[in-house]
Amino acid sequence: MKKLAENGIKPHDAQLKPDGRKFSLMEKLLLGLTLDQYVQQVIRNKFNWLLALIFAVGIPLIIYRFIFGLGVVTHSSYDYPWGLFLGFGLFCMVPLSASGFMLGTTVEIFGRHDFEPIERLALLNGLLGYFFAVVYLLVDLGQPWRLAYPMVYSFGPAAVLFLVGWHVATYLSVQVAEVSTAFFEWIGFRRGYEFIRKGTIGLTVSGIILSTLHQGALGALFVYAPGKVHPLWYSASFQWIHFFVSSIPAGLSMVICVSTVVIYTMKWRCDQRFIDSLDRITISLAKGASMGLFTYLFIKFLAVAHDNEWAYLATGWGAWWLFEIFFGVVLALIVLGIGIHHKSVALCRLGALITVLGILLNRLNTALITFNWNLYQEIPHIFEVIIAITIFAIYIATYRFILNRLPILYQFKNRAEA
């Protein structure tokens, strides 16, 4: 894209062409380039080669899994019924996608319109994260075609998973509605856009409710397994608060990370408003993330005190727990703190990356690493790892496909009135 820009070719970024005609759908899909130009820039991009390689290996494996069952791509463990697909795909993707409701709340509820340039990116990050968490779930479920059973056919409403299922499904539709404003703008469907905008407050508030509950519920799922999850990662009373509170810095940091990737690799797609405000917004988001992290740090120790588990800290698992806390929370807090104090965007971004890694470590610890701490350590099957990576690659490709096209990072210059 950079090369094209040097040659004076601009991507599609307006409702109308300079001569006043509308863009056709095909032109929009090709970013306003000709087919030749489009294909050439796809081939020029080395990252696409990497994606192609991953897909070439991973997609056949996904098909293989659906033809021959979970048994051929996992270790079929009875003791570790949840492997990487849920341990990473569900338990990590969902907190990293808390960004949608965080920024939605900031802009729409608290009226902080100075965060607006990044609101749509945060909403999209939320939507795609949830969507792909469901994709991971579909790969993991024994009978994925029955996914809708808890909604329409057979109900187990006392189960935490019932709540997770309902809330993720409802929240996904809320997020589709929230992001649809960008889509309606892109296809030029003015009335749909206005209709959704009218319901923004309602959508945002339901987003907060649903997020509070299902982020927490993911933690509560592990409360079913006292004795299987290591006591340091287990807290009957606080598990849901731990998961909910940590999803806040996780979501905010994920937006910082994604926006960093975007500004370095897709700058052509960002408009001046986004580019100019990103540094300021990054620092503000870092402030939010560090407050969330600090609360999280506090309640993590509170839980240890509540269940009087100090003795465990002296064990090997305790050292691992302390590593998670000191790397993922304390170090992140220090880096973010210095970054905010010195207004260093680079440090804020580094801090955000550490926060994201820390949350990943926490979720993997709870779901896989410290799970069954009295038994053996499950190492996922190589095919399971490849499939998890492949789905993540599809996630990135979809993310980029949408960012390239919809007005997420940029605003339409001239708007067609319907």
Binding site: P81, G111, Q143, T181, R197, V223, Y224, G227, L375
Partner: protein, 310 residues
């Protein structure tokens, strides 16, 4: 009684009101509180078990399970160690007998199968209500509604449910169902109990088995460890164990709470209706406070920025 009301209430709120219309759910909640008064159980007296594996063979036949990898007369299975653990129930074997060798005593044999809890964790963790605790005491499973999330395997404190991972199109949970379909329903004892040549197991009403067990301990205090495993563990189980050695030496998990597993989740479940009730007003209020006096808090904000540029 207040317990029942509260749980029903919670469940109702979680389904967002819709649950009120869901008749089948009632059954599940009424069913798992303290067990049914006339629920059946089995008392396993491990001091009598010689490890002949007749029960394993009987179970295999009764449940039409595939042929085992090693014959039931092969006692080398007692030395099998996988991932540092002895055998556990699998999709091909709903019950297994393991041998333990505590210091200073003869080897002891422990039969493992579903313990048929009074308040089963598998049942309360299942989001499609695939499990049922029947009035006869069995915890049965409906493979027609199972989605395959395997949350029950996470939740089961005894690590009993197995899953037929190898099936691509109809993988299901495989576990002991107390021979419900073929025997228990008609008041008959399960196949394993009937097959035992050593009278290790007594089939009867759970509450009477508890009396029998305590009688045995009282009459021969030297023979038995002074505990009836399953009487209180995770809310009580239908299958009860007497042992001649301390239970942890026979591979039992002795760190289980006496509370049913679902009690751990109640803290969270209680939050759900609160969040549903309080959040809307709270955040709409925040919105009004934060945006009062400013132009349209929720106006068409993507365009008003744009307009400034013109």
């Amino acid at each position: 009684m207040s317990k029942i009301t509260r749980r029903k209430f919670l469940a109702g709120s979680m389904a967002g009101g819709a649950a009120i219309a869901m008749a089948p759910t009632k059954k599940a909640f009424g069913a798992n509180l303290g067990g049914f008064p006339d629920g059946m159980g089995v008392l396993v007296d491990m001091t009598r078990c010689v490890g002949c594996r007749s029960c394993e063979a009987a179970c295999n036949k009764e449940q039409n399970l595939p042929d085992p990898d090693k014959s039931f007369a092969d006692y080398s299975v007692f030395d099998e160690i996988k991932h540092g653990e002895k055998r556990r129930p699998t999709e091909k074997a709903y019950t297994v007998v393991n041998r333990y060798e505590p210091e200073g005593s003869e080897p002891v044999y422990r039969k493992i199968q579903c313990n048929h809890c009074n308040e089963p964790a598998c049942l309360t963790s299942c989001f499609v209500n695939a499990y049922t605790k029947t009035p006869e005491g069995a915890v049965i499973y409906n493979d027609k509604v199972c989605v395959g999330c395997r949350n029950c395997m996470i939740a089961c404190p005894f690590s009993i449910p197995a899953y037929s991972y190898s099936s691509a199109f109809n993988p299901i949970i495989k576990k002991c169902i107390f021979c419900y379909d073929t025997r228990l329903k008609n008041g008959q004892m399960p196949a394993c109990v009937e097959a035992c040549p050593q009278q290790v197991m007594v089939f009867g009403k759970r509450k009477e088995l508890i009396k029998i067990a305590h009688d045995r301990i009282r009459r021969s205090p030297d023979k038995y460890d002074d505990q009836l495993y399953g009487e209180n563990e995770v809310g009580g189980t239908g299958w009860l164990y007497l042992s001649g050695v301390p239970f942890q030496e026979a591979g039992f998990n002795v760190s289980l709470p006496n509370e049913p597993i679902i009690n751990n989740v109640k803290d969270f479940l209680a939050i759900v209706p609160m969040v549903l009730a309080i959040w809307p007003a709270l955040f709409t209020g925040f919105h009004l406070l934060a945006t009062k006096g400013k132009s349209h808090g929720h106006g068409d904000d993507h365009s008003h920025d744009g307009q400034e540029e013109h």
